[in-house]
Each structure stands twice: as C-alpha cells, then as structure tokens.
C-alpha cells in the first residue's frame, strides 16, 4: 500500500469494513464476488462470515414441496415465505429454484433439510448399474457434494448441521444388524431388532461406525430424523420415538404423551419439525380440525402443549377444507406443511395446505391469509376432493438461506 493511500484503499485493506460491506450484499452478488481475489474469497467462505450474515440460521424464507406421489407427475415446487424482510431479496428470485438447475442431480429427491443444507438422493448410472447416491446440497450457493456410499441396506440418512456450533456437517445413517453377526444377549422380545449407527463427517470426509449396537422396535423408522438440540430425533408411529445424541453417541427414548384410550395401533403424526431451536409435533387421533401442537422439553424430561389450534375459522372461510380425503376418511382436507417459530412468539405461524391453496395461519392472533393458489380443484364422483390436495407435510422442506460451504 502506498503512503498516500486513497480512501477506498483504506477501506479495501480493512477486513472489518470489507466484511461489513460484503455482509450487506445479496447472495447472488456475494457468490459472484468470490472470484474478485483470494482475499475476498477467504472473507466470504469464512464460517464466521456465514454465521454473522445469518445469525439466525432458522430464518425460513421458503419451502421446497414435492407434490404427492399419488399424483401422476410429482414435481418439486418452491413457495416463498416472508421474503420481504430478507436482506438477500434483490428482486431476483431466480436462485430460489436452484434444485432444478443442477442437471447432474436428475431424479433427485430431497429427504432432509437442516439449517440451509439439504440432503438428497439421486440415481446414478455407474457402468450400466443404477445406484442410489447421496448428496449434500446448498441451494443458496448451488454447491453440492456427493457422499461416499454408506453401507448397503441402511434404514435412512439424517443430516446434522448447525453453523452456530460448527461449520462442519454430519450425516447419521442407521442400519439393521443381522442377528447372526451378533453374540446376542438373551433378549426374547421378538419385536426388537438390533441396529447400528454410522456417521459421516464433512471434516474427515468419511464414514465411521459408532457406538455399540442398540435395540429398537421392529417397526422403527430411521429416516426423516429431525436435528434439534444436538441430537437426531426420530418420531415413530409404532414403538418408542428415539433420539441419538451427537456428542455422547447414545440412543435414548423421547418422552411422548400417552396414546388415548381406544383402538389406536400407533401414533397418527400429522407433523413434526424443528424451528428456531424448538421441536414440535402434532398428532390428530380423530377426524378433527382442533389439535394441540406439542413441544419437547430441552432436557427431554417431557413435552408440553405449546399451542391449541382450532381451524374452525379456516374451515368456515374455505369449506373445501371440511371434506374428508377420499382415500382416508380420517383426514379432513388440510395438511400442516411447516411450523415456523419467530423470535417474537406472537409472530410464529403455520403453513397450511387446503385444497387448491397454501395458507399462512398466525399462531399469535389466529388470523390467516392466503399465500398462493396451487393446482386446480377437482372433485371425484362422490364429491371428494381428489386432485387439488397436492402436498403433505413430509413432502415439505424448509429453505433457509445460507452461504455456508459444503
């Protein structure tokens, strides 16, 4: 730098100021400016930068949605939420549908979303042999990375990423242990099976087996785990719901409310998910439009009712919601696509899908508004809404903007 440096040189030479300026740029510019110089690149890809730019790594700016597989051509859609407050909103939402723009991931399917990163699978043709491959994707930066193949016959992959704790991500994979491989302790319970966990770490770039095998119900599912509170949480319709603590690598049981008396074989989950460091779930035991949103205590000592919801007002405004689904009369025609907790509790909201529409239902003042129209309404011969109910909550993945590198 020369002795008489110009004002702009002083700014350009000051990392603090430069970072402040970069922090205020929309994502699109930011990604372009990575190639200005090695210095700028180092500022932008610094994990600290990603964390400061989006300190609240739970700001949901949209939802990725798969239309139901009951439809002939399931497709991936994107629905923006609250993008007015988003600093990245430069009036150009082209980057909001980035998944379709990555050609090498054709046939891909998202199955997990965690603080801005997505875990997805796709079929790759390797020497004539179609193989399911797994990828981590940052839809904001359009970066993706393919994971080394996990063990064959696994029961599901679950993504762990929390930029406020670590710039690295992990993937938790559970597989069933063949009983012949184990010197079994005397466990006569025929409903229990042995499982083992493997973890991939982006820090090491490899899989490693972890901890001892554990037993769980035969019907336990180990995909669709939700990362919250330093653990992957699995909600099970049958048998115990479980969580796997990433730190001590132990599997424990999530305390759930008792199943009500009656002929219930399992838990009819209608939603579960994390938002702003809270873990919620909804069970609806009868065809009802009133339900409770439960939240799990941070120390796993129990769970409590966070919200009582009554969708009566929504049903009155949109009578099509009050129809039962033809293929399951247990369901009124609504789905909770997402529950978003905001810093101010009164600003928290649910994203609801009713035939032909996506709604925002505010949990504070219980008001609701239409976000957008989807599909055309169509009734079958019995007057049942068939075609316009497109999405289910488990087809919905939060989009959180992140410049984190993968």
């Amino acid at each position: 730098m020369s002795v008489h440096s110009s004002p702009i040189d002083k700014v350009a030479a000051n990392d603090d100021i430069l970072t402040q300026i970069l922090m205020k740029l929309p994502v699109k510019s930011l990604l372009r400016f990575k190639s200005v110089s090695k210095h700028w690149l180092s500022l932008i890809v610094n994990p600290h930068f990603a964390r400061c730019r989006n300190p609240n790594s739970s700001f949901v700016s949209g939802l990725f949605l798969y239309s139901s597989k009951r439809r002939r051509n399931p497709e991936l859609n994107f629905i923006p939420l609250q993008n007015n407050e988003n600093p990245s909103d430069d009036g150009d939402d082209a980057y909001l549908a980035p998944l379709t723009t990555i050609p090498s991931l054709s046939g891909k399917e998202i199955f997990s979303s965690c603080h801005g990163l997505l875990c997805c699978s796709s079929y790759s043709n390797l020497e004539g042999d179609y193989q399911l491959r797994y990828h981590i994707l940052n839809p904001t930066t359009k970066q993706f990375k393919s994971l080394p193949q996990p063990r064959d016959g696994h029961k599901g992959l679950n993504l762990v990423f929390d930029p406020s704790r670590s710039p690295h991500y992990k993937v938790v994979c559970v597989w069933r242990v063949d009983c012949d491989d184990l010197v079994l302790s005397v466990d006569s319970d025929q409903n229990k099976l042995y499982y083992q966990i493997e973890i991939y770490s982006s820090e090491t770039g490899s899989w490693r087996a972890c901890a001892e095998p554990f037993t769980a119900n035969r019907n336990s599912q180990f995909h669709s785990g939700v990362y919250w509170n330093g653990a992957i949480n699995w909600f099970n319709t049958f048998g115990d719901s479980l969580y796997f603590n990433i730190e001590d690598e132990r599997v424990r049981t999530i305390p759930m409310p008792p199943i009500p008396h009656g002929d219930w074989k399992g838990r009819p989950f209608r939603y579960y998910g994390e938002s702003n460091d809270h873990l919620h779930f909804v069970e609806i035991y009868n065809p009802r439009i009133q339900f409770d949103v439960y939240e799990i205590e941070r120390d796993y000592s129990g769970c409590f009712v966070k919200y009582h919801v009554d969708l009566g007002s929504v049903g009155a405004a949109f009578p099509q919601m009050m129809q039962r689904l033809s293929w399951n009369p247990m369901y009124y025609s609504f789905a909770i696509l997402s529950l978003v907790r905001e810093k101010k509790d009164d600003d928290s909201f649910m994203v609801l899908h009713i035939p032909g529409k996506i709604l925002r239902y505010n949990l504070g003042d219980k008001s609701f508004e239409k976000i957008c129209d989807v599909g055309a309404e169509h009734c079958d011969g019995n007057g049942m809404i068939e075609d316009s109910f497109m999405y289910f909550w488990f087809h919905s993945f939060q989009y959180i903007e992140s410049v984190s590198c993968i």
């Binding site: 004002p7 002083k10 700014v11 300026i21």
Partner: protein, 155 residues
C-alpha cells in the same frame, strides 16, 4: 443522572486541529468516545486523530440527527440516512473509515449498506479496478484468462 448529562458538552478536536462543541449524548454515539468518557480518561477536549474537520463535521451531523430524531418517524430517518450517505467516493470511503475507527455503528451500517447497493450489480472486473486498484495492463495480461473464467456467467 441522565438529565444532567444531557447538558454536558464535549469538545472534539479533529486531526487538523478544528474544534467542535458537541453535546455529550451525541458524542457518545461513537463507542470509542463513549468508552473514553466512561473510563473518565477524557478531559473536556477529546482528540479525534485520523479524522479531519470536514469528515468530523459530517459524522457529527449524522449523530445529531439520529439523537434528535429518536421520537421521529423511522421513515424520516431512513430518508435522511439515504441522502446523507449519497456522497462522492472520496467522502464516502473517508466516512466509512472514520465511522469504523470511532465505532459509530449506525453510521457504519448506513454507509456499508450504501456501498453494497452501489456494487451489488457490478462485475468482478469492475470490482477489481475499483477496490484492488487493478490497472488495465494487469487485467489484460496476467488476469486475462482468470477474468474470462470468472466473468463467464456474469449477467
């Protein structure tokens, strides 16, 4: 205590020796000055090295407005901010350095936002000339290939 403080005045002396009499509440919008005042290591006259009279006057104008308009509508302040930061390059970057050095957060935020607005649509090429002082010669030689590579998807 705060009501008596409001009557207190401080003198800020710029790097070129000019003195400004400023209410303390305005001066302490600079965190650096606030720390000095709180640590009681400041006499009534506080030197502001590295910031000349011209820039210091602007910083004070900004702080005064922000102090007065606490009760005013936020939109008015926003209008003021956007007009305030709309300056020539020299003054703009001098102000940024001053705001950063004296730790005046609101001013730094407004200025950085302004720079971000100015550069967000620019090409990599342009940014290099502006911020890295690249000369035409360098761009045409050593960085030629790199430039084509980087700018290839610029739209």
């Amino acid at each position: 205590m705060s009501s008596s403080l409001e009557k207190n005045m401080l003198i800020l002396r710029s790097s070129d020796g000019e003195e400004f009499i400023v209410p303390e509440v305005v001066a302490v919008m600079s965190k650096a000055i606030k720390n000095m005042v709180e640590d009681e290591c400041a006499s009534n006259t506080i030197p502001v090295p590295n910031v000349d009279a011209n820039i210091l006057a602007m910083v004070i104008e900004f702080c005064k407005k922000h102090d007065e308009s606490e009760a005013e509508a936020a939109s008015d302040l926003k209008t003021f901010d956007s007009e305030f930061v709309n300056r020539g390059q020299e003054a703009l970057y001098d102000l940024i350095t001053a705001a950063n050095f004296r730790d005046v957060k609101e001013l730094l935020d407004a200025l950085c936002q302004n720079v971000a607005e100015m550069i967000k649509g620019k090409s990599v090429h342009h940014i290099r000339i502006q911020f890295l002082g690249y000369q035409l010669f360098e761009i045409l030689t050593s960085n030629f290939i790199w430039n084509i590579w980087c700018d290839r998807d610029f739209d």
